[in-house]
Structures are given as C-alpha cells and as structure tokens.
Symmetry: C2
Subunit: 420 residues, 2 copies
C-alpha cells in the first residue's frame, strides 16, 4: 500500500523499551519515504485513535526520535481499553475505519500484548468487510512474556534483568544483616497470570544455596507448610532466606495471596501487595525478622538497567513491522524466533495474529524445579540470553538519565468528535 500513512498505537502496560520500538518504526518509515507515508501516533493508544487525537511524528526532530530509544514509559500515552467484539460494538470499529479514511491511513500498528493482537486482527477483518482494506500489524510488547508463538516479548528481558540484579543485590544486604537482625527478605514482582518475571529472579542463583532460595510462582499452588519449612531450612543452612514472590501467587483454590482480605485500621480492604502478606506469615510461623519490597512500576520502567538484548529485540520488531507493511503484510505480527541458545542467535519472522490473539503462555512445568520453589537448568538456558548486555541511557551532568518528553504536534481534526 505505497504512500499510505501508518497509525502507530501503544497498548496496555508500558515497558522500559516500548519507546525504542516506536522510534524504530519512525526511523524505518523515514528511511523508506515514498514506499510508506507518514507515521501518526495515537495519543493514549486506541482511545486517541477513536477520538482522532493523532500525533504527527514527522514533526519530531531526529534527535527527539533518537532519544526515545532510551526513554522508558509510553511516550505517546498508552491505555487499558479493550474493544469489545464487533457484534457488541460495531460503532467503534466503524469509527476507527472513518479515522483511517480521513487521514489516509492504510497501515495500523498495534504495539501490545495478546488483547492488542486480537484487536488488530478484528480491525483488519472489519476493514475488509467495510470495503476499506487496512493492513493491521501487531507489534509484540509485554513485560509478562506471555505471548504465544514469539520466543519472548520485548520488554520482558529488561524487567528480567532488573529483577535478577535487584534480588542479587538485596540478598547481599540481608546476608550482611542476618546475624543480628533481618533474616528473611521478600521481593514482590509482577506477573499476575504467568511466572516468567518471578522465574527471572532465579537467574541470580548460580550455585546451590545461592539466593533467591525461594520463588513463589502463580503456576504452583501456595502451600504454607512447605513454604515455612523451605524458609526455615534456608535460614538454618545459610543464615538467611531470600524470597521472590509473584503478585499472582495463589492458594490451591485459586485465591490470590494478595487478596487474602487485608484490612486497614478502619476496616477497609487494603490495596494489593502479596509481599506483606507473605512477610506476615513468616513472622507468625517462624518469628524471623523480615524485610519486604514491592517493585511494582519500578521494574517495568527501569530503563537505567535495560537489557541490551531486549533493546535490540524491541528495535527489531519495530523495524520489521514497517518492512512487513511495505511488503503488503496484514493480520500478522513480527515475532522473535530463537535459532540457537549457545551462542544465542535469533531472527524475526512474521506470524499470523490469529495464532497469538487471546492466547496466554504460562511458564511450562519443565521450567520449575521439582520442589516448586526454583527454576530448572532448561529455564535458565531459556532466560539467560535475554538479560545479556547493559544498554545504559545517556546521563545529564546533573546525574539523572537524559529522558525526553517531546512536545507533540497534532494532526488537524477532520471528523466530528466521538465519545469513547
């Protein structure tokens, strides 16, 4: 679809490297002028697309685009807004097509997880149905690493690096304190439905006995007695115990530990946090002094400790998306295919969105150790390459990273306002 404009939108939770994907899209499109048109970026994801809030990325300076490669967050804004089925909400799909028509948009890039793959796929179908062909291309992004088909998801490798480095460092801290003070350190990480991020904590453990001694996965039903004994044994053997707990850790009946019903002094339900719940159990069952941390957004915005491999992946899928568009592709996603563990080699392939949409890839059983508290050598072999290399951002003289928040120029509106 030569000369047609591209609409790029970010979706769902952001990552340390999603802006690198965006920058690669913009740079590759600029390098292919004539074969593709302008790149518009939807403000706040699909919501901005519906509301015709479109950023003209042609107005961004080359240096601003370059700086996006090293800036975390979602520069154009993301959103948590899932389009309903076409039957339930034809109006929104039709509106999207109107916006595309009005701005000569022939290519839609949706940079997100499996929900977004589903949306991109549906949009491509409705376009054809309405007689306006749009090339819909999903671009993978999710720290949860739960997308099907692709070997791994851009964003995950950097979070994995943050988590493994952080638990290694905090474990050195608790080791130093354990003789007279804190004996157990608990770090909560993301991954409500899949234990990939928690598994990454296991990379810090190189030799038997190394921290973290305990990982609590969503995939392994929590057993308080077994957990207590594992912690006790670690403290007795090593003097301390280091624990990584997934926010998705749950009891055998499927209840999240974080939802165990914590209430504050006024009787109100507390907001999340599985680490304090687990710390409370350790204190009650074993009497050990605990410290706990909740990484939350820090883990998924920590561009300062991004994985160089992950950054390369993030750029590669952005570049590949534009190349797929030039080749007329639609209903596809550029995915990462691993061709070798040692040495680590990978390439980009195109996969149909239908194979990715709405699937969720959890941690396979063979990646979890027999006792349920650690990772296996095959898991390590899989994870290892993803955290390799340090892709540091440039720093300003004042000691802070040189992250950018460019001023955006919006494309003139051509349509009536639309209420999402």
């Amino acid at each position: 679809m030569p000369g047609k404009n591209i609409l790029y939108a970010q979706s769902g939770g952001v990552t340390p490297v999603i802006n690198a994907t965006a920058a690669a899209v913009i740079e590759t499109a600029r390098a292919n002028r004539g074969r593709v048109g302008k790149v518009f970026a939807a403000r706040d994801g699909i919501m901005g697309a519906l509301e015709e809030r479109l950023i003209d990325t042609d107005k961004l300076k080359k240096s601003e685009v370059a700086a996006l490669h090293q800036t975390p967050g979602g520069a154009f804004g993301s959103c948590r807004y899932k389009l309903k089925s076409i039957e339930e909400n034809q109006r929104e799909y039709e509106r999207l097509i109107e916006v595309f028509k009005a701005h000569d948009i022939g290519v839609f890039f949706y940079n997100g997880g499996n929900d977004s793959a589903d949306t991109a796929w549906k949009v491509s179908q409705i376009g054809d149905k309405l007689g306006f062909h749009v090339q819909c291309i999903g671009i993978p992004k999710t720290i949860d690493n739960d997308l099907a088909v692709t070997d791994n998801c851009p964003g995950f490798g950097s979070v994995a690096k943050y988590v493994s480095v952080s638990i290694l460092e905090a474990s050195l801290d608790v080791m130093a304190m354990a003789s007279s003070s804190t004996k157990v350190f608990i770090m909560e990480v993301m991954g409500r439905h899949a234990g990939w991020i928690a598994a990454a904590g296991g990379l810090a453990c190189r030799e038997k006995g190394d921290p973290p001694q305990v990982i609590l996965f969503p995939e392994v039903p929590f057993d308080r007695d077994k957990f207590r004994e594992k912690v006790r044994k670690s403290v007795e053997t090593n003097g301390y115990c280091s624990v990584v707990v997934s926010e998705g850790a749950r009891t055998p009946d499927g209840t999240f530990l974080a939802d165990a019903g914590t209430t504050d002094a006024f009787g109100h339900k507390q907001l999340g946090g599985v680490a304090p719940v687990v710390a409370g159990m350790v204190k009650e069952d074993l009497g050990y002094k605990c410290h706990w941390a909740v990484c939350d957004y820090l883990q998924r915005s920590a561009r300062h400790i991004a994985s160089a491999t992950d950054l390369e992946h993030a750029r590669a899928v952005g570049k590949a998306a534009v190349e797929l568009a030039i080749d007329g592709g639609s209903g596809v996603m550029p995915v990462i295919k691993r061709t070798s563990d040692q040495p680590y080699r990978w390439k980009i392939e195109a996969a149909p969105l239908s194979r990715i949409a709405n699937h969720e890839k959890t941690l396979p059983k063979k990646f979890i150790s027999a006792d349920g508290f650690g990772i296996t050598p095959s898991c390590r072999a899989y994870l290892d390459p993803l955290i390799r290399g340090e892709a540091y951002p440039a720093y300003r003289k004042d000691g802070l990273p040189d992250y950018v928040r460019p001023e955006f120029v919006y494309v003139d509106r051509k349509l009536e306002p639309f209420e999402v």
Copy 2:
C-alpha cells in the same frame, strides 16, 4: 602506633558503597606496611569483635579486594547491636580490650552511623582507663545522611541517585497510563527519622509541574486534607500524580502512618509499609486508581546505579581513616567538608567523635518548600552534586554484575569463648 594491627568493623544497615570504604582501608594499609600492621575485619560487626571472629584480610587476593569496590551489602557482615553504657556493661568493653591485646590491635575502625561513633568514642575512653591505648576512629556510613558535622554520609548519594532515577522512571510510566488507568503512583523510601532520602526524590523534578508532585517528609506532620487536595490538583492539572513517601511520615501526634494499625484477614497486625496506607487514603478520598512500590533494601543495595561522587567519598573516608591512624589520631572521624557547590569541591577533615556521637541531623526547614510537599532550590543545590556520575559495576557475560563473596580466612582464636 607503628606496626599495630587495625580492626575494621561494619555496623548497622549496609549501603551500596560500604565495601568500597573497606577496600580503601585494606588497600591503604597495604600501601603503608610497616607504618601500620595487618587489617583484621570483625565478622558481623562488633559481635564478631567480641566473639573473636576475626577475618585476616591479608589473605584476600588483590583482585578480591578490588572487587569489593563494586560489591554492595556488607562483605564481612554487619550487625545491629549497640553496646550499652560502660556503667551498664563494662564486661563487653573489657572483652574488646582483651581481644585487642591478644591480637596486637592498636587501631579500631568502626564504620557506621552515630551509634557507632558513640561506641568508638567509648571504646577509646575505656582503653585509656584500662591502660591500653587504642586509637578509635569512626568512619562515616549511613544511607540516612543524618550524621552531624560531615557534609554528607557515604552511602546516601547512591541511595539518592537510585531514588531520584526510580521516581523519574516510574512517573514516566504512570503518565502513560493515566488517561484510562492508574492516576497516582506512590513510592515508599527509607529514612525513619530524617527526610533526606525522600528529599532526593525531589531531584527528579526539574521544572514546575514535574514529578514527583508530592513528597511526604517525616519532618512535616501529615495532613490528610492538604494531601488530598494536593493530589487532586495534580491529577486535574497533569493528569496524574507521583508521590514519594518516607517510611517516617507521621501524623501530628507523632504516630507513623505505617503503624496506623493495619491488620490482616486473621486480625493480626501487618508489618509496616506506609505506601499501601497512603494508597488506601487516595483510593478512599478521591477514588483514583493507585499503584505503589516499596523500595526497602533495593534502594540501599542498588550498587548497579551507584553515584560516582558517593563512591569517591566512600573510598576517601576509608583512605583517610588509615592516614589518621598513621598520624596517631584517636576519638575522631574523617568527615566530608564541602568547599564549593559550583563547581562541586570537597575535602576530608578530621572531626572529634564527641561532636558526632548520638546527634541526628534532620532535614532543615529551609530545604522544604512552603507547602511542605517539595524541596527548595537550596536543598537541590545541596543534593545535586551527590548523585553525579555513574559508577557502574563490571558485568559478567551472563548479564549479572560481577559481585564477589570472598572465602575468608579467620585469625586463630587466642581467648576463651565469650557470649554476647
């Protein structure tokens, strides 16, 4: 006291750079053989000194000592154990002197905060009283930055860098999510009695409106109404609100917010955490979706993002301690004296322990903005140089920092066992 051995001990909470101080002590002593003896390191701080668990650092390879410069935690073990007054516990002071005599120790380096300065000072007095002169030298270390006399405390600058970088990054995340999801992000930092670490979060705020929009200091009594209005205004103006809260934030009657009496489902008191308490208030008062993080040990072990300035300070005080010992100094601490803000210049001076012991330097009023939720330009001028420069550790090929845990060789025991 030429030729006498040095006993080095770490005390209290560890820092990302305390091992750099230890390494500087060892290296400077090695460079001055003959003028000073061996460096012994007490295992687990003063407890190991009392129990005669002494590590012979002469047995450490040069490369191991070098690697300590980039390893967080407390390599020799630290402890939370405060010697009581001499009147209450003469037995322990006398035991220390016995250990010193037995191992020809003429110099005692206590690397810690104001409690440790107090202990070092008392030890020097009891030594003289018992007719065994020991040169007692405190070496400053505390992430809390609450020591008197010294311009700043080694360890603090790196934590300040971690906190300012982290809140900047997480704020970019919440900005991207705010249109349809999380509007308020809350990050809890350490500093139970002084707001220095919380203030460091303010470095991320370069221009009016920049995050963090709210800092909750221990020095400013928490006012829920004012806080609510500040958060509401930020969300209305910026679309989101980014909050740094000190673990020491407290109500006007002095109650820590974290101790507001949170109980779990079983009616047990929960363990700490002010961030979830504040998040609960925001949710209840304003209905905004919140995310919260608790940095805990991560902030004080984050050697991966250490400040180069802080690392230099940490090394300088270690080196100066040995030089003071060679010059016969006792009852003193090498402190950092700032001679210029711009350009930043500093030097090391010796200060009497009596001026440091048991004092606590809280954030001065002039460093807190009029509304109580931010820092002033003079605070920024003070903090700014302390986070400058990135002192990255070396990484292994597997993507993790090359931190060391040397095998220690212990000095043969010469005394009867002693129960602490």
